[in-house]
């Protein structure tokens, strides 16, 4: 029983450590992470004219070489030379213009259909990993132990 209590205590401490790191990262990322710094600039573009930004978003509309991406406030990116369509995911590196738009310097597009396939393939991978794991391990009591036939090295 003492062993079980200690095990639960360690698990609780590890979970607390995990939550603590996630909370700290969330609080501090604006000062350290390029995409978070860019998000802060794009929230007040008039204060950051001429500064570079890098962000990921989803395309809402396309008009010529300008795309509108799903951000709040609404944001337009111009000078896009990539083939983007509504629903696609985009990465944008560019510069904030005086009119609040972003002049694109580099845009990378992931088509919506490709993203759907990505999620399907990744779900298959999860099933594969769990199946491989359960082929080698089984549960005895409240712990994973090697299945019979697995050598005990």
């Amino acid at each position: 029983m003492a062993g079980t209590g200690r095990r639960l205590l360690v698990m609780a401490l590890l979970f607390g450590l995990f939550l603590g790191m996630v909370a700290h990262y969330s609080a501090a990322a604006d000062r350290h992470v390029t995409t978070r710094q860019s998000a802060a600039k794009l929230a007040a573009p008039a204060d950051h004219v001429g500064e570079s930004v890098y962000f990921w978003s989803r395309v809402e509309a396309v008009e010529g070489d300008t795309i509108v991406v799903s951000r709040s406030p609404r944001l337009a990116v111009t000078g896009v030379d990539a083939d983007a369509r509504a629903g696609d995911a985009v990465q944008v590196y560019g510069v904030i213009r005086p009119d609040g738009m972003v002049a694109a310097e580099r845009v990378i597009v992931s088509a919506r259909g490709d993203l759907t396939r990505l999620y399907a393939v990744s779900t298959l991978a999860l099933v594969l990993a769990v199946a491989c794991f359960l082929r080698s391990w089984t549960v005895n009591g409240a712990a994973f132990v090697p299945r019979e036939g697995e050598s005990d090295a």
Binding site: M21, Q91, L118, A153
Partner: protein, 165 residues
Amino acid sequence: MPDLLTHVLAVFVVLKPATWWIDGVEDRHVATAMIGTVLPDLSKVRLVVPAEALREWLGRPLLFAAIHRLGPVAALAGLGAMCFERDRRAPAFAWLIAGGALHLLLDLTVKRAGGVAPPYLYPLTWWEPPAVGLLLSSDSWPWILAAAVATVVWVIDRRVDPGGS
């Protein structure tokens, strides 16, 4: 990040040969590392969690991307290791963290418009490493290539150890 299938197959391709040459490395360790390589992608919980509702509830944004960093992955690996019987926890932790670390390493290959990858080594450092820029997460060729190489490794394994270890 490449798709999760590429990550899982990469663990198989990298670690399976170790079972041929290194005493003490078994199939179950490879399988444990395959679970470890899934851990960073638990950040994808953001796809099903209503972020805005969570932000209102907490009063501040919670960045699920944090789960995709070394420290949280290590904590999750520790939690996972505690699910093994006592004398197997240390090796389980090592294999889980190996799988998670390989995942983060492969994620450096993703094309990024900004030229830098996220600070994967958090909390050790906020350094954003340069992105190698080989592939897009949504590309199919990485998992097709990984599946082809994994098949070759699997066939060789059948010849090395016909009964399976």
